[in-house]
Amino acid sequence: MLRFLFTRLSLIIPTFIGMTLVAFFLIRLVPGDPIEALAGERGIDAARHAALLTEYGLDKPLWTQYGLYIGRVMSGDLGRSIVTHESVLSEFLALFPATIELALCATLFSLLIGIPAGVIAAVNRNSVFDHGVMGISLTGYSMPIFWWGLLLILLFSVQLGWTPVSGRIAVTHFIEPTTGFLLIDTLLEGNKAAFWSAVSHLILPTIVLGTNPLATIARMTRSAMLEVLGEDYIRTARAKGLSRFRVVALHAFRNALIPVVTVVGLQVGVLFTGAILTETIFSWPGVGKWLIEAIHRRDYPVLQGGMLLLGVIVMSVNLLVDLTYGIINPRIRHTQ
């Protein structure tokens, strides 16, 4: 197990370097620079443009800039935003809890519905429920997030008035962020009304962000379960006279979980991608929207820092997923 862990950890270093290279050079391939983006229609004269490039250190050769950047990253300095002039790390830390809160809720939503739906569909193969689940999950998978989000807002918020339209909490609640996770901060302040307001604001974005992973997880669970249910040991279990629940829940489900866990791990990346649109629609102050704005404004330090931090998080989650295999299935642990 330890050897496995070390092998995986050693792979992180080249991946990390690759990420810094991609984050640094990709944005510079896009035409335009941050100074031009700041100038707008007014334009900027060549002398001032050059002076500002020097001030931001953007006049140096690219490799020199990259070297300086890596040096700073190594010492934990991700730089300052060219637009807001705030530290990239502090902006990330202020916004990331919102993204994580939403991503966790969406993950929970997709797991709590996707896994049972997939299991029931597999157990009742070719039933109306099975076809229903598969049809709905295909629809969910193909649903454009922007359209889906606006549709839910129009129906549940505007027409029915059940949920708030957007934001993280009603503006009447004044909550000073402690952890940044509003569900926790409101409870820490003992403000129940604010807590329920935060919950109500989470409902629609959770559904929108969780729909795609839900569809994937439901389909993956169903096919994994179908495969396992056809195995000899399941037949043996049934022959032994075990109840259907025990066969499905204990024997089949545990073995079917391995591919599902892989998919859940991969969904972390999908969740961050989906968060960009979901955060824009629901005015959710997270890192997705922050990065998109940084692209529009060619805010190099924010893009580099943000991509790097998100990359590290995705890598860490995938490492955790790999380690989880061993816990779920001891055979994997032994073969390592």
Binding site: R42, H85, E91, P116, V123, V165, V171, W196, A249
Partner: protein, 537 residues
């Protein structure tokens, strides 16, 4: 064998049951919520150029002179009166006494506003030796763009409540320039305290102003909370709290307005306009904007060096069809380079009539009986003065094909687009402008002067006409508005004769507000300020 299946189904049902669905708490009385479109860059307007930043900062800072609410007229601000010397070069400002500063957790003011603060506001942007020149950023865009470094000779403190500013040459828009957001006055005492504490950047992050609202809380991309400043020199604002609920998507802003989650929203989606006009609980405020969208002909490139070709182009394009199809009800046809709301607008000028046959004849007379090929640059982004440049280009392309002109539509990434156009790489291309200070010079000098026609300048027609230049150069030195108006009217005649542009449209400013909002006034500059606004209980 049935029971376990039921268990699983029950579990599924439980998982699917969403917690009790709650509705947002209603907004408290005397709290006005503005669904703003984005986060301000920071709280120092002098280094920013976006309306988003100005909206957030205008509530906090005051300037020595102010634009009237909803207009372009300049009136007293932190200076209660001023005198201008006969030669138009010396401005003496008499400052208000007893003007209080806001306070926050890290700073409690010990003195009222005085002349030191005004000098700090200038020197921070002007003198590199000022310790705050580079704090946050040295990119003092508007101070530079308004020509302040070249214009200012001295800013002197006569006494604690009198300031004398001397400029190098008489410049009529100088006063209006001082009413712009970049000239917002910050507290020198606060700046000194923060510098001493080793955190100078706090001045721009936790702002202290003398404006009608003080900042209470800012959470990036989420919310800005202000509280009405009870000691504001103009009297406390009618509302108690002002909240900017940051909502980037325009359709979502509209949904929030309908539901009463906000009272005012900027920049509606044109597709929602019909619904907005029909909605009982809101009203759609409309006002011609201080902007112009245009198609510029690069007069330094053939065949657009010939005025007949430019005129023919103007006659071949059906402007009305463009307004109807693209601007919908949010634009009016433009004939001059300045909008009708701008004083000195020459309404006597007749626009070029849509006449494809006449255009063909004019092209033949210019030596292009079979037409010619040209490029046409279309912006890749929506702008306040042009909702869809690509679509407009396609309509123009179809019109011009009828007179034998083959158009190739080109576009680049937005920053690159502007840079290349300002360098004159195009033959024809679309761009536009939104007025900064309510002065015609702001349009005409920035967009059509000889100086701006140099590579990198904003005169993208690269048109330098001596008669026009003399008129606008003279007008800017005069203080008498009637005299200036005459000169600008003549300049517009020269512009129309020479046709360096096809002026396309002036976009109408649209602001949907809830019915309970009282006395919200649209700003010609597109700002959203809330002093003087009230809400029905």
């Amino acid at each position: 064998m049935r029971a376990p299946t039921v268990k699983i189904r029950v579990a599924l049902l439980c998982a699917m049951s969403i917690p009790a669905i709650l509705v947002a708490a209603p907004v408290a009385a005397k709290t006005l919520v503005f669904c703003s479109e984005g986060s301000p860059e920071n709280f120092y307007p002098a280094i920013n150029t976006t309306g988003t930043s100005f909206d957030a900062n205008s509530q906090i800072y005051s300037r020595i002179v102010e634009f009237e609410r909803g207009g372009t007229k300049v009136g007293p601000g932190l200076a209660e009166r001023w005198t201008i010397s006969k030669d138009g070069k010396e401005y003496t400002f008499f400052l208000r006494k007893g003007v209080k500063w806001h306070s926050n957790k890290s700073y409690k003011p010990t003195r009222d506003f005085n002349a030191d603060d005004v000098i700090f506001a200038f020197e921070r942007q002007w003198k590199e030796s000022n310790p705050y020149f580079k704090v946050t950023s040295s990119n003092h865009t508007f101070f530079n763009d308004m020509g302040m470094p070249a214009l200012l000779k001295s800013v002197e403190k006569v006494d604690d409540y009198t300031i004398k500013i001397t400029i190098n040459q008489p410049t009529a828009p100088f006063l209006a320039n001082l009413a712009m957001e970049y000239a917002g006055v910050q507290s020198k005492e606060y700046a000194d305290a923060m510098q001493k504490a080793g955190t100078p950047e706090k001045v721009d992050q936790e702002p202290i102003g003398t404006g009608p609202f003080s900042l209470v809380q800012y959470q990036k991309d989420a919310i800005i909370r202000y509280k009405a400043f009870a000691q504001f020199y103009g009297g406390k604002a009618p509302i108690d709290d002002l909240i900017f609920a940051i909502t980037p998507d325009s359709s979502v802003r509209w949904a929030k307005l309908q539901k009463g989650e906000c009272h005012v929203m900027p920049y509606p989606n044109p597709a929602d306009l019909d619904a907005m006009r029909k909605e009982a609980n809101t009203k759609l405020m409309e006002q011609p904007g201080l902007n112009v969208g245009y198609l510029a002909y690069n007069v330094q490139k053939k065949p657009f060096d010939d005025v007949r070709v430019r005129k023919a182009m103007n006659m071949a394009i059906n402007k009305k069809a463009i307004i109807d199809a693209v601007y919908l009800s949010s634009g009016t046809a433009a004939k001059n380079p300045i909008p009708p709301t701008q004083w000195s607008y020459n309404n006597a000028i007749k626009d070029d009539v849509y006449d494809p046959e006449g255009a063909r004849k004019l092209l033949a007379a210019a030596g292009y009986p079979k037409g010619f090929s040209t490029d046409m640059w279309a912006m890749p982004v929506q702008r306040p003065y042009n909702p869809n440049a690509r679509r407009i280009a396609e309509l123009m392309q179809a019109d011009l094909a009828k007179v034998g002109v083959t158009v190739e539509i080109k576009s680049y990434e937005w920053g690159e687009y502007r840079k290349r156009m300002q360098n004159g790489e195009h033959q024809t291309g679309m761009l536009g402008w939104t007025g900064d200070n309510g002065d015609p010079d702001n349009f005409l000098t920035n967009l059509l002067s000889c100086d701006a026609a140099k590579p990198g300048g904003a005169n993208v027609a690269k048109w330098c006409n001596q008669a026009f230049q003399e008129l606008i150069s003279k007008a800017v030195t005069l203080t008498d508005q009637a005299e200036r108006t005459k000169l600008y009217e003549k300049a517009q005649v020269v512009f129309k004769e020479q046709a360096p542009w096809l002026p396309i449209a002036h976009a109408v400013q649209l602001t949907p507000v809830r019915k309970e909002v009282i006395d919200f006034k649209q700003s010609p500059f597109g700002r959203h300020t809330f002093y003087g606004v009230d809400i029905k209980e």
